[in-house]
Symmetry: C2
Subunit: 149 residues, 2 copies
DNA sequence: TATTGTTATACTCTATAACTATA
DNA sequence: TATAGTTATAGAGTATAACAATA
């Protein structure tokens, strides 16, 4: 009934709805770690790329500079990140993740992977195989404008 | 390097990270419609199921009753939903979506599907085919505990 | 007394506008 | 003057606790 079936038979509305439902499921698990999506993404950014300017973080995460200022202040208050200075430019604030921040991210990933495993255990082998096969494609899909990259 | 490769060769951490990145990408597009994920999900719920009690909506969407009270107030203020009464029980508030709410959801789905199509156009045919093949499995994955259940 | 919903209060997260400090 | 960051203010969205109305 829809003209959305295109080149590869992919219905975008269906994919969008399916992804959104998964998002909501995963988001519900956000509570345990207490990290918002942006907070988690920022910590991951710092894990991967090392100390980073506040302005760059704001750009990477698609939030405004004031929003990032506040997020970093909360992370700092909670001991998950630290502000340092740039010796070569007095205006710059460099942000880095702390060991506690890294530990929290590790726990978070483990917990959410476990939850995802629980969800997947309700699927049959074939479905799981299909998702595994599509995973690299999904990674590329998210990576394109994913920011950070 | 990880013991996460299990039955079907599916790495849960990788899947979780990939979904989370996609999540952030789609969320960035939330602005155009101005609807939060919960607001959109609630309107969709009302579209599918018809008028619904405020308490049931709170349960469906996994938020507290006061949070749903406020969300419905915002939706009502914006003309997207309406409160009505239940003739058989004076305590009950029934919420229903308005034509404007339905129209907004239709626009939102079209816009986001279009954006998804744009993202997918950067992938090659094979990747798109793999995602199309996995879509029903992803739908089942999201549907399993989608909710409510 | 139990259920349904609202109000009060507080915190996160976001934005825009105005400001400070450094270059 | 331009750049980096903060502060001020406002609003969405969430939670818990206390309350009001109806059953």
């Amino acid at each position: 009934m829809s003209p959305a079936d295109l080149s590869a038979g992919l219905d975008y509305v269906r994919l969008h709805v399916a992804l959104e439902r998964l998002f909501r499921l995963l988001r519900r698990d956000t509570q345990p770690s207490g990290l918002s999506l942006t907070a988690a993404s920022t910590l991951r950014n710092l894990e991967l790329n090392g100390p980073r300017r506040l302005t760059d973080l704001a750009t990477d995460e698609s939030v405004t500079q004031p929003a990032m200022t506040q997020l970093v202040s909360r992370l700092e208050r909670d001991g998950l990140a630290e502000r340092t200075t740039d010796p070569t430019d007095g205006r710059v604030v460099l942000v880095r993740v702390t060991p506690a921040g890294i530990a929290l991210m590790q726990r978070r990933r483990a917990i959410r992977a476990q939850h995802l495993a629980g969800l997947l255990s309700t699927l049959n082998e074939e479905d799981e195989r299909l998702i595994a096969a599509a995973l690299p494609a999904l990674e590329r899909l998210g990576g394109v404008t994913g920011g950070i990259a």
